[in-house]
């Protein structure tokens, strides 16, 4: 585990801060009384940051932690994280409400619980006192600890003293009235002060008699000691804060501060300022309370600063005050916790609109602030901010050697003499633009002004010369696209001009030198040039360079890093350098600068001031030529993109308090382990996590740490601000974790904190286990050697076996042949057979070898066979045996079977042999038989269906037909039907031409043929026929013939005409259904129409109002009229859609439709009805569905029926209706309409499509019947399924294929 680089850098930055701190002599941190309360850095933690609310008590213990007692528990804070305090196991808090806390120098913390109970927390162990005697008789309100270390408690009934673990009431024997104590204080002299409800009394060191501090108001809330030793009180009855009047002392006559009600707590900080919390009014601070002498403060006294809600106080009610050891002031509030700490940088509030400013230091510690906006020039003198009349929109400034100041603006140049301004406008001929830069042209007051991007104009004695150009300066273009960005006149009167392109041009009289990157000038666009004496600094986008002895040297930080973009440079009289840099204000002390000037390779140490130091934003990078100046009082001013910042180098403060370091927790894989000096982790622990903290509360963000795990690390690890260490892969053994930290100013606590722990070894990490491992290794090596020997032997055996197997392969091939092979010699004896023979004929091999071949032939063929065999040997060749004859084989069991035999002669050493391959063809014979059977059946089927088949050979014009053709056409089978004309002539004369032409077209286009026509039988009867055919192509793609069938459809035609009449009846019924549906919907449809009409009327009203306004707003009126037009159109569309529903759609007209479109239309139409029934409608429509051919109105009706059914089924509110469309597996459209309604009882599922069946109170029972018949007429289907949850889904399909032609 190593530290990431980013952390290294942040660490190193702090290290530099540390070195820097040593270099710079600074005052100790505290809240400077000369600053306003709003100029301190203040931070607020609310509940959302983890802080408790309703804070009653605050205390800082010796280890540096801040303890917070609230109504809701005790919380510990390390500046970063709030942790609720939980006592050690077995101890319970008497209550979660804390009344008061007090830290003791021995590291303890006293806790007063409300309503009763005391606690003392030390070294992580909490002791609770609840028994009588262990705690005072009545509830404790406050604590005090005197110089002798005695603990006093102010209780509800009087003062109590803790002696020997017991509490004693302090009463009249000590000259103290036993009454409720409100506040206790031990002052610097060791005197104990007690404020009761009626008086303040005090007990000097060693005395046992209280003295009266004066009879007082009834409601003293607190006591505090001022820097001069006097004790002050706050009296919330009289609403005043004042010193306790001691009888016979002068102060008795002093006037109090009167503040108003709600006084809670007083605190004098180490600078002597008085802080006061007020219940409802935030925090009040009095910078110089000693100035009070005999003078009363009115509530609006300017010396009395109030940080209340108006000023940004968001704590709610302020209760408790604490100054920590670093001098920060903490305020416990009802809404959280506030810290006031010193910030090095102070934001200067400017009026609104001053975003891009230009700064100029005046003569008497005053500052001039110009702005590029249309805002007047400001003059800051002391605390007063004055606006000058006149100069505005300024972007450059130049102080001439004669003390005159020139301000470059947008339209001209202003001359400032003391506080007098004179404006010289640009001549009318010039293009108006910004004057970006002002350069002296001579020593007599002439000026070169850089005007916009045009270039220079010359301005001498109030006169303009637009065409004069500084001699030798490169003109625009090329490497100098713009004019100079900054300029400087050095003591030897040379003029330096810098360019945004990165070059520098030096004019020495008429001599011009140009420097560029080659000369080490490596800062990108140059933004600023400043010098004092002979050394010159240039700042640009890539950092800072210095010029000396003809060469530029880049300034590099101590870690080798260059600076970021620099827009302002201040060189202080001591030679130190301040930069307005991209990431903050950078200070390089003079000693570092001297080192650098002596050795340009020296890396400078520096300090950066950023938001943590109070810087309001990043450096202003805009085009003004002065963003950082030093006023004559030594204060520095920087322009940022979020306002003006001020820094006083003479008053930089330093936090000298090294932060106490503590280890918070340690954990391993099993979670947190209690911290103890002898911490041991079990064997097998590999990962350890340690949380630690350093208690610097001023700026915890800058606290950095180093740690070292002794036993693992040899060096310190720089871990930056990380507050956790994590170690993995730890072996067994003892470890010591050490951590040290430094505060925000690099002050290290080198003692730090440490923690010892050890990890016990696991059995496998012990020595005897390792020895055992070595023995085991040797043993297994021996075993491996044995195994290797055995393996080699086995390989040898395998090789041998392979050789034997190859020999077997040939015989295997013969045996594996699919056919039975019998080899016969010239004598007709069997010499070789394979296994197939044994299987086929049922003989064993030894039964056949040597036998005559005739044993395998049925006896009736044997005679012929022997003569055939003799003939074969005369002219042996490869051939089939017994061509054209049926051959049979004879099995051993005497059965015969059909065979096919092929013969091949084979010349061998023993003379000619014949090899015969024998195939069993029983199966083939059986198939032939089946084919004959099916042909007969086809003929029968053709007869029954009155279908004939035909084949038309195009080349010859010959036609072959099945016998059924003769029967269909009523001609005798004997007639010659082989000519095509024979058949075409029998087609009805009116149809003949059409059919012939169609046939010819199919022939040419090589497409399927299909025709319906009438034929005339010889007896004059007319019958209807439907014929289809398919072209048959030859290899070259020409049609050689058509084959097809023709069916007599006369009977079918009659049925179709019947169906047509039924369809008409259905259409009429469907219309009735539509009209009745519309009736049911009338209320919803009225609402649907009402919407656009109502909207139109309202728009018309609005329009009238826009028109009658004074002046009339025609634009808004026009918009209203356009809405009226839109709403009117909408109403018309609704009516149009309805009208088609009322129309009688006879006959149904099929057109190509998009189902999704129809579905969406219906959703729109039924929207109101769905709303009325609190049903929401959803569609899940598949994109790019093919169109279907259907009747639009009927399809709408299908949707409407199903959707209305669904809506009515959902009586409960929040029903959901879903319409889904998708493409089915066979290319048909699948549409479903589902509801979340009551569902369908199983016993009724079968009936719903029946006519006159209904489950509704009002319903004809025709809806679903009609829907189904519409869908079936379109070739679709309708069915219903129950949903997995509630309700049902109706599904229907619609075919997508286009209707067949002709």
């Amino acid at each position: 585990m190593r530290i990431p680089k980013a952390r290294m850098l942040s660490f190193n930055a702090s290290l530099l801060a540390c070195l820097y701190g040593v270099i710079l002599c600074a005052r100790v941190s505290a809240l400077d009384p000369d600053r306003r309360i709003t100029e301190f850095h203040q931070k607020f933690w609310s509940e959302k940051d983890g802080a408790p609310s309703q804070i009653n008590a605050l205390a800082q213990t010796e280890d540096g932690y801040l303890w917070i007692g609230s109504n809701f528990g005790l919380v510990r804070f390390d500046g970063v994280k709030f942790e609720e305090y939980k006592p050690q196991p077995g101890v319970e808090l008497p209550s979660y409400s804390i009344y008061d806390l007090m830290a003791t120098p021995d590291g303890g913390l006293w806790i007063a619980f409300e309503p009763t109970g005391l606690g003392f927390l030390k070294e992580g162990a909490l002791t609770i006192f609840t028994r009588p005697g262990e705690m005072p008789e009545s509830p404790v309100h406050c604590f005090a600890r005197d110089r002798e270390g005695r603990i006093w408690a102010g209780t509800e009934s009087g003062l109590a003293l803790r002696q020997g673990g017991q509490w004693t009431s302090i009463g009249r024997d000590w000259n103290l009235r036993p009454e409720m104590v409100r506040a206790l204080l031990v002052d610097h002299a060791g005197t104990l002060w007690v404020a009761t409800v009626s008086r303040v009394a005090y007990l000097t060191r060693g005395s046992k008699v209280f003295k009266l501090g004066g009879s007082l108001g009834r409601d003293v809330t607190t006591l505090a000691q001022a820097g001069d030793g006097r004790v002050w009180l706050a009296d919330d009855h009289r609403w005043e804060v004042r010193p306790v009047p001691i009888a016979k002392e002068k102060s008795a006559g002093e006037l109090p501060v009167v503040l108003g009600k709600g006084l809670r707590e007083l605190l004098f900080d180490r600078e002597g300022a008085l802080w006061i919390t007020r219940m409802d009014s935030g925090v009040v601070r009095i910078r110089y309370p000693e100035k009070l002498k005999n003078r009363g403060y009115a509530p609006r006294d300017p010396e009395l600063e109030s940080f209340d809600r108006e000023a940004g106080f968001s704590g709610g009610d302020a209760y408790k005050l604490l100054e920590d050891r670093e001098g920060n002031i903490w305020v416990g509030c009802s809404n959280g916790l506030i810290r006031f700490s010193y910030s090095q940088v102070v934001r200067v509030n400017l009026p609104e609109g001053y975003q891009n400013v230009i700064l100029l230091a005046g003569e008497n510690s005053d500052l001039w602030i110009g702005s590029v906006s249309e805002r007047p020039l400001l003059h800051l003198r002391g605390d007063a901010l004055l606006a000058e009349k006149g100069p505005e929109r300024l972007c450059s400034v130049f102080r001439a050697s004669d003390g005159e100041i020139w301000w470059g603006g947008r339209t001209g140049i202003w001359r400032q003499r003391a506080e007098e301004f004179k404006f010289f406008p640009l001549p009318a001929l010039a293009v108006p633009d910004w004057i970006y830069e002002i350069v002296p042209s001579d020593t007599q007051g002439g000026l070169w002004l850089r005007l916009g991007d045009v270039g220079f104009v010359h301005f001498v004695q109030g006169l303009w010369d637009l065409h004069d150009w500084p001699e030798g300066v490169p003109s625009q273009g090329g490497t100098f696209p713009y004019g100079p960005s900054a300029s400087y006149r050095d003591p030897s009167q040379r003029i330096w001009l810098t360019y945004t392109s990165g070059q520098v041009c030096v004019l020495d009289g008429k001599h011009v030198t140009i420097y560029s990157q080659r000369d080490g000038l490596d800062v990108g666009r140059i933004k600023v040039i400043r010098g004092r004496g002979q050394h010159i600094w240039l700042g640009g986008e890539l950092g800072l360079v210095s010029f000396s002895k003809g060469y530029f040297h880049k300034v590099i930080g101590a870690e080798g890093e260059p600076f970021g973009a620099v827009s302002g440079i201040i060189e202080t009289p001591d030679g130190g350098l301040w930069l307005n840099e991209m990431r903050g204000i950078v200070h390089v002390p003079s000693a570092e600068i001297r080192q650098f000037l002596g050795d340009p390779n020296y890396s400078v140490k520096y300090r950066r001031f950023d938001y943590l130091d109070g810087l309001p934003g990043a450096a202003q990078m805009s085009f003004t030529n002065s963003t950082a100046v030093e006023t004559s009082d030594g204060r520095l001013w920087f322009a940022t993109d979020n306002g003006l910042a001020r820094l006083d180098p003479a008053h930089l403060v330093r936090n000298p308090v090294p932060p106490p370091v503590s280890i918070v927790s340690i954990s391993n894989e099993r979670g947190h382990q209690p911290l103890s000096p002898t911490l041991r982790f079990a064997a097998g622990t590999r990962a350890i996590e340690i949380d630690y903290a350093a208690l610097s509360l001023a700026m915890p963000e800058r606290v950095v740490f180093r740690y070292k795990l002794e036993g693992l690390d040899t060096d310190w690890q720089n871990v930056g601000t990380r507050r956790q260490a994590y170690f993995t892969h730890l072996g067994p053994g003892p470890y010591r974790f050490r951590v040290i930290a430094c505060n925000n100013d690099g002050v290290w606590n080198d003692a730090g904190a440490s923690l010892d722990f050890s990890i016990l070894p696991a059995f496998y990490q012990t020595t005897w286990f390792r020895l055992l491992c070595i023995a085991a290794f040797l043993g297994s090596f021996g075993a491996f050697y044995q195994l290797r020997l055995r393996h080699v032997g086995r390989q040898f055996k395998i090789r041998l076996e392979e050789r034997t197997r190859a020999e077997k392969k040939f015989r295997g091939l013969l045996e594996a042949a699919p056919e039975a092979v019998v080899v016969v010699n010239q004598q007709g004896s069997i010499v070789l057979i394979n296994a197939q023979v044994e299987r086929l004929f049922g003989y064993r091999r030894d039964e056949l070898l040597g036998q005559g071949i005739e044993i395998l032939i049925p006896p009736r063929y044997r005679g012929d066979h022997s003569s055939h065999r003799s003939h074969y040997f005369v002219a042996p060749k490869v051939r089939e045996m017994g061509a054209g004859l049926e051959l049979f084989g004879l099995r051993k069991d005497g059965t015969e079977f059909p065979v096919e035999i092929s013969l091949s002669p084979l010349e061998t050493d023993e003379g000619m042999v014949v090899s015969s391959a024998i195939r069993d063809i029983t199966e083939r014979k059986r198939a032939e038989q089946a084919l004959r059977q099916s042909e007969a059946e086809l003929l029968e089927a053709q007869r029954l269906t009155r279908t004939c088949s035909w084949k038309h050979d195009l080349a010859s014009g010959r036609v072959t037909v099945s016998p059924e053709a003769f029967r269909i056409f009523g001609v005798e089978p004997e007639e010659d039907g082989s000519k095509a004309e024979f058949w075409f002539d029998r087609i009805h004369p009116e149809d003949r031409k059409r059919v012939c032409e169609h046939f010819q077209r199919c022939e040419i286009e090589k497409i399927d043929y299909q025709a319906e026509y009438r034929i005339v039988l010889p007896d004059g009867t007319i019958r209807y026929q439907h014929s289809v055919g398919r072209p048959v192509l030859n290899g070259s793609g020409e049609v050689i013939e058509f084959i097809g069938t023709a069916v007599d459809i006369t009977e079918r035609r009659g049925a179709e005409q019947e169906r047509e009449r039924l369809r008409e009846a259905q259409a009429a019924l469907a219309h009735i259904n539509r009209v009745s549906m519309m009736g049911e919907l009338s209320a919803s449809l009225a609402h649907e129409l009402n919407q656009p009409i109502g909207a139109a009327i309202t728009s018309a009203d609005a329009c009238l109002r826009w028109l009658t306004r004074d002046p009339p707003d025609l634009e808004r009126a026009r918009a209203a009229v356009m809405r009226i037009e839109k709403d009117g159109t909408r109403a018309a569309q609704i009516i149009h859609r309805l009208r088609s529903f009322y129309k009688k759609g006879t006959p149904p007209q099929r057109e190509l439709l998009d189902v999704n479109e129809v579905a969406s239309e219906m959703v729109t139409l039924l929207r109101s009805e769905a709303n009325r029934c609190a049903v929401s409608m959803r569609t899940k429509l598949a994109a790019e569905l093919p169109k279907i051919r259907a009747d639009r109105v009927q399809l709408q009706q299908v949707f409407m029926n199903l959707m209305l059914n669904a809506i009515e089924a959902m009586e409960e509110p929040d029903g959901e209706l879903t319409i889904q469309s998708q493409l089915g597996q066979e290319g048909e459209l699948l549409i479903s309409v589902s509801d979340t309604g009551v569902g369908l009882p199983a016993e009724k599922a079968g009936q719903i499509f029946d006519a006159f069946f209904t489950t509704k109170r009002q319903g004809s029972g025709m809806g679903l019947t009609i829907t189904r018949s519409i869908l079936e007429a379109h070739g679709g289907r309708l069915w219903v399924t129950a949903n997995a949850g509630t309700g049902v889904t109706f599904h229907f399909t619609l075919p997508t294929e286009v209707e067949p032609q002709v």
Binding site: N1090, G1094, A1102
Partner: protein
């Protein structure tokens, strides 16, 4: 004044035409108006608790107007509601008015009726808010009382004397007096009578 403090008329209607026309009408009389297409949008807009009133369509897909009214009531948001509907029936109107609707308008409505109803609703809202602010203020003061002071206060407003309270709490009478002084001061009550009124507003009187 922050922009969120200006009273706003929130219009919820699923019909874009109706929505726009009402918005335009309200803007023509310089009322600040925000429109929502669904009740859901409105309830999640963080504006539900801002000052103003609600113009609500009764019938909408998903959550209807009466559901919105119920939801707001459950969430303790007391924004006055004006219902508009295409076809109001009497039972629905009665139900809505019982739940505190300001007005129930049937579309198409006269614009003056809507504007009158909105004026009435905004006044009602202002009154509710003033009242709420006072109670918030009291609750804030009450929160800073200690547990003991709260006990004393509840007994005090119940009409008990210091002596009785002391015996009830087992404390001394002087202690009770101190608590009493503190709590009257913290509650910023001018008199015991005022404290009783405050307790009543905080609904403490019933705690014993």
């Amino acid at each position: 004044m922050k922009s969120t403090d200006i009273a706003t008329v929130f219009v919820i209607d699923d019909d874009a035409g109706v929505r726009q026309s009402i918005q335009d009408l309200l803007e023509s009389v310089d009322l600040r108006c925000e429109v929502f297409a669904t009740a859901h949008d409105f309830l999640h807009s963080q504006r539900a608790n801002g000052p103003g009133c609600l113009v609500l369509d009764v019938r909408m897909p998903g959550m209807g107007g009466l559901d919105v009214q119920r939801k707001l009531a459950e969430a303790g948001i007391k924004i006055p509601i004006i219902f508009i509907t295409g076809h109001g029936d009497i039972p629905m109107t009665v139900k809505a008015m019982k739940l505190g609707a300001v007005e129930f308008l049937t579309k198409p409505f006269r614009e003056q009726d809507l504007l009158d109803a909105i004026q009435q609703a905004l006044e009602r809202d202002r009154a509710i808010r003033d009242q709420q602010r006072e109670i918030d203020d009291l609750q804030k003061r009450y929160r800073i009382l200690t547990a003991r002071e709260r006990e004393v206060m509840s007994l005090l407003v119940f009409g008990m004397l210091n002596k009785q309270i002391a015996s009830e709490l087992g404390a001394s009478e002087s202690t009770v007096k101190i608590h009493r002084g503190h709590l009257i001061q913290k509650m910023q009550a001018g008199s015991l009578a005022e404290l009783v009124t405050m307790a009543d507003k905080l609904k403490l009187a019933t705690s014993k």
